[in-house]
Each structure stands twice: as structure tokens, then as C-alpha cells.
Amino acid sequence: MNEEDVSKVLGQVVPEAPSPDAWAGAAVRRSRRRRRAGVAAIAALAVIAVPVGAMVFSKPPSTAVPAAPGGEVTGDVLIFGTAEEPELCLGAVRESYPPQCGGPSLKGDFDWAQVAFDDEGGLRWTDQRYTVRGFYDPDDGDGGSFTLTAPVVLAPEGEPDELDFPQLCDDPYADGGSPDAGVTPGEDPALAAEAGLQKLSEVTAKLPLVAAWLSDSDGLSGNYNVLVQGDADAAFQKLRAVWPGGLCVQSSDAPTEKRRVEALDAVVAALPQGQFLTGDAGGVKPELTVQVVIATPEIEAAVRKAAEEVPVTLTAVFTPVAPDTPSTSPAPSDPTSSPSTSTSRPGTPSSTPSTLPDPDTSADPGSRLRILTGTAILWQRDYGLPRLCFTVGYSDPIQCDGPALKGDFSWDGIAYTEKNGVRTSEQYYTVTGEYDPSDGDWGAFVRHDAPIPGGMPGVELDKYSTLCADSPRSAWPPMLIADGGEGPSFAVMVERVCERLTGPVDEEKRDALVVSLRDAVESVGGIVLGTGRDGNDVRITVVAADAEVTARVSEVVEATGMPVVLRTKLTPPGEQDTTIVVPSH
């Protein structure tokens, strides 16, 4: 398959797009909600040449008790963000003005007054690194979160990276070359030098090149230093034929530049999603430099394996804190509630029992925590908490959206596959426990029973398009049909649902309904996993539906007159996961 074929195939397979008519309104509404969360940030966005959404649009700080998955870690980082939404800067800083960088949102006891920062239109950043200590949760929010367990302190200044371009031989003109040898009288020396360098790079590209650089350079001339594998004399002759200036060539056993670039590619591919930050294939120093988020022994092993014989300098932003290291000041959270995976072998996912949220730190935990049950694949990344995996994203290893399990958990007795530091159970498990919807993006089980293999199969939604055609009531799947109280009889409701499901498709109305549904559910804190539509069938899947969520769905249904299939991934034990909400008239 050539490139043209690929273009053609890609063009062929894309299905017909749905009507975008309702999208603008929805986007404007969502944008306004975001704007309320960070007005200053968006004002600043207008002056950024290449905007990056991540920094500006992270979620507002959660009032929930901080999640503390993985072990306690520490690192020296720049702090970016807005007054309300500070973030740690991981990876490279984009040198625009204001500079841009993003990473996990910074939670816990942080105040901008603790650091020296610049501010431009509401975007803030520090020029110096600060030492942070706390818990990193890569799966909390869009960019993960970092929950401090100690105040930030100014980091000691590191040694500046002095790039040294040594001259490889004592006399670069030992064979009689001269800086002006290639210049014809009357010719612009700068142009001649540029042409000379061009020829030089062509010849260099054909060598088994380890590295090449100019020493004593003013940009166009200087001494050309070359490391090659094998015969240095032969390489010297080829280069001298096009370059009259200073020239030093040495033989080296180090991997070639080409090989190092390949190795870097392999390293990037081998690292778990989100771990790789920056990489360099080296030059004067012919080795790879790779920066990751946290270097566990597994990650280091994966990097070395992928790089094969190529030497790698691996650096990590965060390093585990030894369990007995005192923090510089009392930690704001109870240290006994912090899982201490730093004491276990990294890469062996585990978690320790956690305690219920401190009642003082949450508004009303009693009303928030409900006993719920859910069935899903179990998932855990080596430095995070185990999760119930409701939905997955393409990637290798797979990503998982679902609530964290903060109670006792062990992989003992659970059949799982492990790849790139991610474990996934080979079958479904059912977890029942106390669920806190405000803890993290998908909520968390703060206490739970041991997962039980198997579980209630969900309702097959595909069935009811045929059910309506030829179904008496008995053929309906065992689902609850809700009409909000005093309503029509079951038979009337079925008829009404079928009428809507099999009647003519009003795409515009349906698409608008999907948008308003999501808005309505999210406005009361419901966590939407997805929306769907097929014919006149509109579905919304949420992590859990409390009375408020159900009430908002009912309102939308009443307003539009279209039934909605509401699916919940976590239900009170014994309750159905699917509800069809029908209009009462």
C-alpha cells in the first residue's frame, strides 16, 4: 500500500458526518461554563500565538479530600497556571510570552504567595524551580493531579548545562588546509563558507557518523570535528575534498547518530502513555537523554531494553520519597491514609487501606457517600490506584476511565494481564462499597468489599428496535421504565416508547436533546461517560445517578417529549442499571 492508497482508504472509510447544527450552541454554553471557571486565563489566551488548551482549561480545584494514589514523590518543578488553577510544569516550556507549560493540577496547601511568580493577563509562572512533595495521580483530571503533603520550597539551583564543543585534535590544519583556501578572491566569504558547509554536510551524511560539530565557530566557519565509526583516515580524505578549513576526525565505537535516533524512537514507543516528557539523541556526547515523569525500575528497564546497546541517561521529574523521610513541615493530610507504594517494588501495583474522608474537610460526606455496586474490568497502572474500568481509550497500554478503588485491594487470586506497567483483569469483577462521586474525575470507592468475579450482565440495548415491532410486554428486557411517579400504565408507556423509538427520526431534535442532556446531567455534578443515538433512541451513560441526576433527565424528557435511556455504571445493589425515562404526556 503506497501513500496514495492510504489517503484513499482513509477518505473512503469515514462515515457520513452527523448534522453539526446543534454543536455551536453547545460549544458556546460549554465555553461559558469554562470561562466562569477561569476568566483571567481565557483573556490571556487571546495573546498567545499558539494556544494550548490544557493549561488554561483544567478543572477548577476540587473540594474533595485529596486522592493519594501511588507512593509519595518529590521533584523540582516550575509552577504555571492561573490564580485559581496552579499546575506543575512537566516537560518542555514553550517559550512564547507568556511562556506555556502544563501538567498535573496542583492540589493541597498551595498559595501563590509562597512562590515568586510573573503574571501576564492572569497566566502565572515561576522562573525558578520549586521542590514539591506529595502524591501524583496521573489519572485524576485531564492532566492528572499532584496533591501536596508539604509546602513548596525553592529548589537549590542546579548546575547549568554547559554545552562543551571540544576540538578533537591539536592542529586542525596539520595537513595544510587553511581557513581561506576555498574562497575565490572577490567572493563573499560568508556565502562561500555557507556553500562549503552545505557540501560538508552532504559528505558527512554518507559517513557512519557518530557526531559532528564545529569548535571555535562563529556560525559559518570554525574547526570541523567529526567522530565516525571505523576508518577515520578514509573519512578525513572524503571531508577534506570538500572542506579546506580546520578538520579533526576521530574514530569512535559509540553508536551512530542514525542508530541513536532509532533507539530514541524505540524508547518513546516502549514507554507507557504519558510517561515520556523529553528526549534527545545526543551529539558531542553520543548517548540518549530521556526524561520521564517517574522512573520506576520497570520504566528504567523498559527504556534500557528499547535502547538496546545505546547508552541512556534517564532522568525523572519525580522520585519516590523514602518512607521514613520527614517532610519539611507537618503534612496537611493524615500520613497513615497515604498509600505507601514507594515501599513496595514499583511496578507491583498495590494499594493500602485508606480511611474515610475526614468529615471536617468535606461539606456533608454522609449525604454524598452511597453504597453502590458496579461490574467492570479491574485496571491498575504501576504508580496509581486500581480502578474499575468502565471505558477504555485506544493506546498501548490502554487507558481507563472509571472510579478508583481506595479500599483494601490485592491482585492475589485475580487473573490479569500485565503490559507496560498496566494490569487489566481478564474477566469482569463486581465491586460493592461506599462511593464518593466528588473524589477525582470518576469518583472513588472509599471503602469496598473484595472484588467478586463476574456480575450482572448489562441490558442489551440493541434489542429494542425489534422488540417494538413484535413484542408483547414479556419480551422486554427486565428494565425499569420510569415516568416520575403518577403516570400512565406500563402498556401505554411501552407504546409511547416504541412510538418514539421506531417513529420517524427527527435528527435535529434528537441531536439537540443529546446536547441538553449532557449539560443537564453535568450541571448537577453527574459524571457522563458517553452519549449515544441510533434512530430516535437517545442514550446517556453516567457513572452513577442520584435523585438530582434523574430529576434533571426527567425535566429534559418532559421538555422535549422524547424518551431517554439512562444507563448507570454504578447502581444501588440489586437495582437495574438501565432506566427508560418517558414523557408523562
Partner: protein
Amino acid sequence: MNDEGGFEAFVRRRGRDLWRSAWLLTGDGGRAEDLVQTALAKTYPRYDGNDRSFEAYVRTTIYRTFVSWWRRRWTGEVPSEHAADIGTAGEVDGGLRIDVLRALAELPRTQRAVLVLRYFEDRPIAEVAELLGLARGTVKAYSHRALEQLRGSVHLSPGLEAPGRESSLASARASVSAPATEELKS
């Protein structure tokens, strides 16, 4: 003050095209719509009436959101949606679509984004590099690798022996994602 009417007209005109790229990235109609809408919500405050430059901005946001940050909305629904996607356009062989989706799914996100930008949107390497914030050499390497993987994909070359690396990658991924795919049936 934003020109809401102009923005709405822009979305009506260009929304389908944006959705098509998003579909290739996500492999799913609902997720594609979510991705486009997320990008539109992020970019709306900067709508200035210049559709051409604004579209470039929206696309940049779509790709960057997809590659780097999209987790929360990175969600699947029940399989009937996938089935609906697959059956939507009658003239295309559904099998081919599934094969392409599977092959795309085997690529890491950045490579998938490079592939869609290079070969679906026909953008030059320099532009792809700028858009994704990658070095040109990396874009070249990724395009090459993504093409190799598509060529080597067992899904697209049923009669061909896939090169060792690709086929082992493919089977390894299949083993990881199998339970997860199944999960979507719930």
C-alpha cells in the same frame, strides 16, 4: 464580544469536515463529536470572524486535545454505536472500515494523529510538525512508521506475512485490549 452568529455559521459549514478528521482519530462517531465539541468550546472565545484562521486553530486544538490530554471524554459507549458507525455509509465495505479502524487503533495516538494529518488532510510535514509541536524528523519517522504499520497490519494485508515487529505488537495489543473491548458491550 464574540460573533455568535458567525460562529454558528462556521460550525454548520465546517463541522462535518472537522468531525471526519475526529472520527479517524477516535474511530467512533460519538467520541468524534465530543472531541470536536470540546475543541469548539475551547476555541470559541477566540472566534474573530476569520473562518480560515479559526479553522486552523480549531484543528490544532482537536489534534492536541486528542494527543495529549483527552482522558475524561475519552469514552466509549455501547457497541451498537460502533455498529451504527460501521453501517452508516452504504457504499463502503464495512469490513474495510473495521480493518482500518483496527489498524489505526494499533497506532499510538501521536502516530495516529500524524497519519491522519499527513494522509487524510494532506498536510506537509512542516505543518504537521508545527501543529503537533514535534520536530520535523519525528513527524517523518512517525509517518513512516505509521505507514509501515498499516502496511504490515494483518487487518489490511490478509494475504501478507506481516513483518515480525508489527505482528508481535499487534498481537500484544490485542491481548491487552481484548477484555476492554468486551467491556464496551456491558
